[in-house]
Subunit: 217 residues, 2 copies
DNA sequence: AATACTTTGTGAATACATTCACAAAGTATA
DNA sequence: TATACTTTGTGAATGTATTCACAAAGTATT
């Protein structure tokens, strides 16, 4: 079981498989790579290769035991234990994240939320009372190692710094900017605007109807 | 100028460069690949290689003319014309997207929003009045070709179908599922939960203090 | 038990992406 | 104008990821 050496692209796909497998639990006991492929839209050969990186454990002629596979993927991704996270910035996006129930399936729980706006501090969303961002200290003692940043771009670096100082070693960042952090801290940035911005590149160009008519004439 | 042949990874980075360049416009007239690198956190060699795919246009010894570079990237990404989009699902996440002013910098404008909840239909967010999702028809006539999906997972496929029927050829999907669409339609899925789920994999394991003490003793 | 069929698993081949090494073309300075 | 310096640009080399071809190991059927 060589946990290192798992390709980054495989690590990116594993949670997608996990998501599909959790939904397939009711369907039956086992699932084949081609059935899984139909759900997630990833080539079955790729799926088998991905699983092979941490040791084959399907049964030939049948497929993969779903429960076993879920356990295995959770272990690889370190999702076999629960994770507490804090949210910083309870604005539009932050509130949506705070209200989302879907993180629990992966073992995540948002344990606290922070903002700097006095109008927001003290309010409660989804049973979490928003605290003053000044109080982001010693999260390690509460066993919190994940921070979610949803503050304006200009404030993100300072917040990242506070989180790291408080003991956070993993950050999910929604701000459209790079965060400078120590090497041991992992940052995953979700940049909604840049994802939207590459959509037109892949879209077909408009057909010029006038031109088509000209060709006909 | 071979617009095809641009690597997918380069297309992914171009909007990131664009974002940084728009912010650098005030700073000066030109920017070097290493200065840009400092902002975006991407190796300068990689940056130059990326730009070289659509023809070198920096000046050696100086760098790249920022305005010219912005124009060029916008053209490649087809962001030189404006794009109208519709949002479907004005819930927590959808409302955040609707309220976000940052898409305008890339030439995007949300022209309409839809929901199926009678309690939401008729409400106005950011000058957009939410319409009944039944009315997603003939968007092509209004020159709308981009749809943003922020409805619950179970409803996403049906909404995708409606959007495609209405003439949409590009979809930004926030639902944690695959969407089956015709080949000509491009889907980019942002799956916040799966991005969060691969964070623990990269985070350092806890140091067991007790064990460390034992070693000392 | 033999045969046909299904599905996993893997080394090798291919495709794709990044990095290297260095030439080319500019600026700045004496 | 020569020399030093800076920065871009690119073919080749290296590294990473995907796909191919096929063996291996199971199930189902006769
Ligand atoms: N909403 C979107 O669709 C969207 C899209 C792309 C990117 N983003 C990015 O996500 C981030 C959040 O966006 P949003 O739309 O929720 O913005 P928002 O303005 O609605 O929310 C930001 C929140 O952060 C709080 N805040 C500001 N400074 C703070 C500080 N120092 N400490 C703690 N809290 C602080 C504000 O009080 C506010 O509640 C931004 O960086 C934005 O660029 C959002
Ligand atoms: N909020 C998050 O942080 C988060 C994180 C990960 C994924 N997501 C995904 O994003 C999507 C939206 O999440 P959300 O938190 O905004 O959910 P939400 O429940 O707050 O909003 C969903 C909205 O869609 C509307 N809707 C339902 N069926 C519809 C239909 N047929 N046509 C039009 N509108 C319809 C609902 O009325 C509601 O307003 C979901 O698929 C969710 O899984 C959200």
């Amino acid at each position: 079981m060589r946990y290192h050496r798992i390709p980054a692209e495989t690590v990116r796909r594993l949670p997608v498989y996990l998501n599909a497998l959790l939904l397939s639990l009711q369907q039956g006991k086992s699932i084949s790579s081609s059935e899984l492929s139909a759900i997630v839209g990833i080539n079955p050969l790729q799926i088998r290769k991905d699983f092979s990186y941490f040791g084959g454990f399907g049964t030939r002629g049948v497929g993969y035991n779903i429960e076993k596979l879920i356990k295995k993927i959770k272990k690889i991704l370190k999702l076999d234990s629960h994770h507490q996270a804090v949210l910083v910035g309870a604005g539009n996006l932050g509130s949506a994240v705070l209200a989302y129930p879907g993180f629990a399936a992966y073992g995540f729980q948002i344990a606290a939320a922070y903002d700097s706006d006095p109008a927001k501090i003290g309010k409660t969303i989804n049973n979490i009372t928003i605290e003053d961002a000044e109080n982001i200290i010693n999260l390690k003692k509460k066993n919190i190692k994940i921070g979610i940043i949803a503050v304006p771009r200009q404030q993100s670096q300072a917040i990242a710094q506070s989180l790291v100082n408080a003991g956070v070693t993993g950050i999910l960042n929604f701000s459209p900017c790079r965060l400078a952090v120590p090497k041991r801290v992992k940052v995953i940035t979700i940049n909604i605007a840049t994802d939207l911005a590459r959509l037109p590149f892949y879209m077909p160009a408009d057909k010029k109807i006038g031109f088509a008519l000209n060709k006909r004439a």
